[in-house]
């Protein structure tokens, strides 16, 4: 995307008929490598969100605290690939920041595993 506001609003304009309508038919969303448990958080406040097109505004309102891409998809109730595209747009526009989980090639961190173990025991 060009980053111009015009493009931003054009792509999201119109009522939500089918998921692919939201993303203007785009299904590729690998530019940021968003995965199921990539965490995202919105930068604008709930109040600021109303300036955005509805689907984006919903995401920004939802993501006031960190949550995973999968949670955003489930709570907004749009398929994962669609949410990934919408989130990519928001990331590109600096409305959302994200943090990927450690890559598979890395051995799981001992402290993380211990914290997970302790956390499960405490449930």
């Amino acid at each position: 995307m060009s980053g111009e506001d015009e493009a931003w609003f054009d792509e999201a304009a119109g009522p939500l008929v089918r998921p692919y309508a939201v993303t203007g038919g785009r299904t590729r969303s690998d530019q940021f490598g968003l995965e199921l448990i990539t965490l995202v958080v919105a930068l604008p406040s709930v109040a600021e969100a109303s300036a955005l097109p509805p689907e984006y505004a919903r995401i920004v309102r939802l993501c006031q605290r960190p949550m995973s891409v999968a949670e955003v998809a489930a709570l907004i109730d749009l398929p994962l690939p669609v949410i990934k595209v919408l989130l990519s747009d928001l990331i590109e526009q600096n409305y959302v920041i994200f943090r990927r989980a450690a890559p598979m090639s890395e051995a799981p961190d001992q402290h993380v595993l211990q914290a997970v173990l302790d956390g499960i025991r405490k449930l």
Partner: protein, 198 residues
């Protein structure tokens, strides 16, 4: 280009980790996720075409948006800095394409086995063995099902002797916790973080 932590207004330092709950159709995966999740299991949909390039009979957008597979998952906020997600794998074989995405970055997996149809968990066992992802086998004790011992199940599944195997009840929170604790200990052992035999 947006970077991961460029904006000073909000910080994102939390880490997310994930475990999988796999097994055949109707074996209790969603039940197990729900027994420990802090929210009722969430559901989201993956679209078939997103991971099946080369399938040329799904030409139009219309067709693309119809074939979906539901994933369910739960969340356990261990601390503000650490969030654990538990994903149930799709129970049907035709949704294999989802498994790679699910397994990417997972710490480990629970394979749920139903003794009434043990073979339904074979594909999951094969997948995790091939992938080198540590897993434990939970033998889900359905009412009225013949109770096999874990050793009989181990023999039938032909898994490595180091793979932990335990009886469980996916509906029971304490039972699920026991399965997950066993899994994490196994993952730690696998990573040679714990002395063998603990």
């Amino acid at each position: 280009m947006a970077s991961e932590n460029s904006d000073p207004r909000r910080r994102l330092t939390a880490t997310a980790v994930k475990l999988l709950v796999a097994g055949g159709f109707g074996v209790g995966k969603t039940t197990m996720v729900g027994s420990v999740s802090e929210v009722p299991p969430l559901r989201t949909e993956e679209l078939l075409t997103s991971a099946s390039e080369g399938v040329d009979d799904l030409a139009g957008v219309e067709a693309k948006s119809t074939t979906t597979v539901a994933l369910d998952f739960g969340r356990i906020t261990i601390s503000p800095e650490l969030i654990l997600y538990l994903f149930g794998t799709p129970g049907q074989d035709r949704f294999w394409f989802m498994w790679d995405e699910l397994a990417t970055g997972a710490l480990g997996a629970v394979v749920l086995a139903d003794t009434r149809r043990l073979e339904s968990c074979f594909p999951a066992v094969d997948f995790f063995e091939r992938r080198g992802l540590p897993f434990v086998v939970g033998v889900n004790c359905f009412d009225g099902a013949h109770r096999y011992g874990t050793e009989e199940v181990r023999a039938a599944l032909d898994v490595d002797p180091t793979v932990p195997m335990l009886l469980c009840d996916a509906r029971d929170r304490e039972s699920t916790k026991q399965v997950l604790v066993t899994l994490i200990q196994h993952v730690m052992r696998n990573a040679e973080l714990l002395p063998a035999g603990r």
